[in-house]
């Protein structure tokens, strides 16, 4: 039903475009595609993307259109459901590019869909920004594909900087799962970054365990003995409670710091007060947000009745990036291929873009260099914005 309605709207929009262009002298409409999982496994992600996009459109409409090179253009959103499936995401991208003539695409969110959909976007030379996909393959060797979030390994240097600036420590310990890609990669990157800062041997304990282990006492005994001042453990939220408790029981007194894999609401349920006061890095934190981030959260909350999650915030930033890129392009020629390339070129040149999830500058690969948010688990067990940390 929704699909039909969507199609009708799109068809109607088409009709409008033809009719207006037939009468008045070629008024161009800027169309932005949203490729999101409105149904399927993660409909909440799709909903967040759509709501953020609608708020953005509201702003544009309030301003009477998008101003490019001194002329105001009407903006339309084309929202396509990818059903949280790779093939549907590809289909949605193909349709938006070839039939709807979108200028740029925001989405898909998950790497599972963003990787194949990015292939299509790149082939047809259309800018695509995936706000949420953290897999390197999404943007790798694809000049037209960008992302709005940092890559997993990027958190290593960020956390190393944060610990150094915040506590002034020089000796760190790492505890990680050697049989799992994400923690292993992150532990290695952290070690490298830390040793670059504090010299070789400044990682005084580099201890590993294997997936499904529940007893870390021998590793933690060595970590405590090593004289480390801080423990970095990029593990998942179900392992953190065990690590934290056992560390404290073995006499660990220093801070324990983690990465975005900690960021599940279940963490505090499982860990309780033992985890209060600990830090981890992530994309965005709702509690304790300030400035533009807080303004967005409040607006979203008023409009839709709940606090937006990281997907909504990252989608919002992606749309503002698209907007900035279009404006930087300087003019809309009406020839869609030319315009798409112009938008791509100006997007790649964006520097120090002030987003609500941090400042961004794009690299050659289309991955942003941006600051991560350091979250502190406060005394109420909430994930509270503590500070922004940059690489």
């Amino acid at each position: 039903m929704k699909k039909i309605a969507c199609l009708v709207i799109v068809a109607f929009a088409f009709g409008m475009m033809f009719s207006t262009s037939a009468f008045s002298a070629r008024e161009t409409i800027i169309k932005i595609g949203i490729n999101a999982p409105m149904t399927g496994d993660i409909p909440k992600v799709g909903e967040g993307s759509k709501y953020a996009a609608m708020l953005w459109l509201e702003d544009i409409e309030k301003a009477g259109g998008l101003e490019v090179g001194g002329k105001k253009y009407k903006v339309e959103l084309v929202i396509e459901d990818n059903e949280s499936k790779a093939e549907s995401a590809v289909k949605a991208n193909t349709k938006m590019i070839s039939q709807d003539d979108v200028l740029a695409i925001v989405g898909p969110q998950s790497s599972k869909q963003a990787i194949p959909a990015g292939e299509v976007a790149n082939k047809y030379k259309t800018v695509m920004i995936s706000p949420w996909s953290t897999n390197p393959s999404t943007t790798l060797d694809r000049p037209y594909v960008f992302r709005g979030c940092f890559l997993d390994p990027f958190q290593g240097p960020v956390v190393a900087n944060f610990i150094t600036d915040e506590f002034g420590f020089t000796k760190a310990a790492v505890l990680y799962d050697v049989a799992s890609d994400y923690p292993k990669g992150l532990a290695e990157v952290f070690k490298e970054a830390w040793e670059k800062k504090h010299g070789p041997g400044s990682i005084v304990a580099y201890q590993s365990f294997t997936t499904k282990d529940t007893d870390f006492s021998s590793q933690l005994t060595q970590i405590v003995k090593s004289g480390a001042q801080v423990l970095f453990t990029p593990q998942y939220y179900n392992e953190i409670p065990l690590i934290v408790r056992q560390a404290k029981d073995l006499g660990w007194k220093g801070p324990i710091v983690g990465s975005d894999s900690w960021g599940s609401a279940e963490l505090v349920d499982l860990c309780g007060e033992a985890c209060y006061g600990l830090f981890f890095s992530t994309h965005y934190a709702a509690a304790g947000a300030k400035g533009a981030t807080k303004a967005f959260i409040d607006r979203y909350n008023t409009a839709y009745g709940y606090v937006p999650d990281d997907v909504a915030a990252l989608t919002w930033d992606a749309l503002l990036l698209v907007q900035q890129a279009i404006q930087d392009a300087g003019k809309i020629t009406g020839k869609i291929e030319t315009d798409r390339t112009a938008v791509r070129d100006s997007l790649a040149k964006i520097k120090n873009f002030a987003g609500i999830t941090g400042n961004m500058t794009f690299t050659e690969e289309g991955d942003p260099i941006k600051c991560a948010v350091i979250v502190k688990i406060n005394d109420k067990g909430e994930f509270e914005f503590y500070k922004s940390s940059c690489p």
Partner: protein, 311 residues
């Protein structure tokens, strides 16, 4: 001198860690060993019985803490949780025997062994369907207090786990050596063909053995919940296999051996992980065990005749 003190501290610290870990292997492996002694088969569902028992313990502990934490002293709630959970879990053991093994008593041994695996999978997926994939956190039944004695850290929970496990094994030993039921079990493990002719029914002794094994697993589960408070439906698999290794190493059917081997595995695991990278832990630990078994195929206290009979 200072280096020596540090070394002693380090060894003592790991010793305490190993005693805690070993206690779980010991208590769980006794369940394997007892069933083997009586029925000459390994109950491969035992690791999952331990898991189900832990979930039951979780339910009882949560309920009791909600009902009584205001006016009953903590240790009493702890004790009540253990007793009630043991009682309920022993019925799980009886159920496994009656539904799973009894119909297959005269079937080939391989069928019975596979039945155990099936029951284990049924328990895992059953819990998954019933409670979902969300992990649960076992509520602490006593406040954890950390002590530092001469640079060696331990908590009251750790000490309690070790003491309760030892007491439990002592109680079981007394039960088997001093009571009539215990004597019947011993007799059954000695000769399961002649003893039923003397009026001791295998249909009573077998479920009793399963019940005792499951009761022990229940205590292990509650203690495990205190030490490692994250519950998931597959938590019994790995610990079950390691306890099974302990039962073999201790000598099939020997309770004393199972307990000893459980502690030994705990020690080997902790000390190997301390000296070598943790990736080598299981490799080295189980190579040592393989070596022991090569020279003592019957384990520490395996009975002479047991190899002739079955499996």
């Amino acid at each position: 001198m200072e280096a020596l003190i540090e070394l002693v501290q380090f060894i003592l610290q790991n010793l305490i860690n190993a005693l805690q870990r070993g206690s779980f292997y010991a208590v769980i492996s006794i369940g394997y060993s007892m069933v083997y002694g009586v029925l000459m088969l390994f109950n491969f569902a035992h690791g999952d019985i331990f898991m189900v028992a832990t979930y039951i313990g979780f339910g009882i502990a949560t309920l009791f803490l909600a009902l009584f934490s205001g006016f009953l002293p903590g240790p009493l709630i702890f004790l009540a949780t253990i007793v009630i959970t043991m009682f309920l879990a022993s019925w799980i053991g009886v159920f496994v025997e009656v539904a799973g093994y009894r119909p297959l008593r005269s079937a080939p041994r391989a069928s019975a062994a596979i039945t155990g695996l099936m029951i284990g999978i049924i328990f895992e997926t059953g819990i998954l369907i019933l409670l979902g994939a969300k992990r649960l956190s076992f509520p602490p039944l006593m406040e954890s207090i950390a002590y530092n004695v001469g640079g060696v850290y331990f908590t009251n929970v750790k000490v309690m786990i070790i003491i309760i496990s030892l007491l439990l094994m002592l109680a079981l030993h007394t039960f088997i050596q001093k009571t009539k039921w215990g004597m019947a079990m011993r007799a059954m493990s000695y000769d399961f063909l002649a003893v039923p002719l003397m009026g001791v029914s295998i249909n009573v002794i077998a479920p009793l053995t399963f019940a005792v094994g499951a009761g022990l697993a229940a205590v292990a589960g509650i203690l495990y919940g205190q030490a490692y408070p994250i519950l998931d439906p597959y938590m019994g698999v790995i610990i079950g296999w390691k306890a099974f290794v302990a039962a073999i190493l201790g000598g099939r059917g020997s309770i004393k051996g199972a307990a000893l081997a459980g502690y030994l595995i705990g020690f080997i695991e902790i000390f190997v992980a301390t000296i070598f990278p943790s990736t080598l832990r299981d490799l080295i630990a189980y190579s040592i065990i393989l070596l022991i078994l090569t020279y003592r195929p019957r384990g520490f206290f395996g009975m002479e005749h047991s190899t002739k009979l079955r499996l």
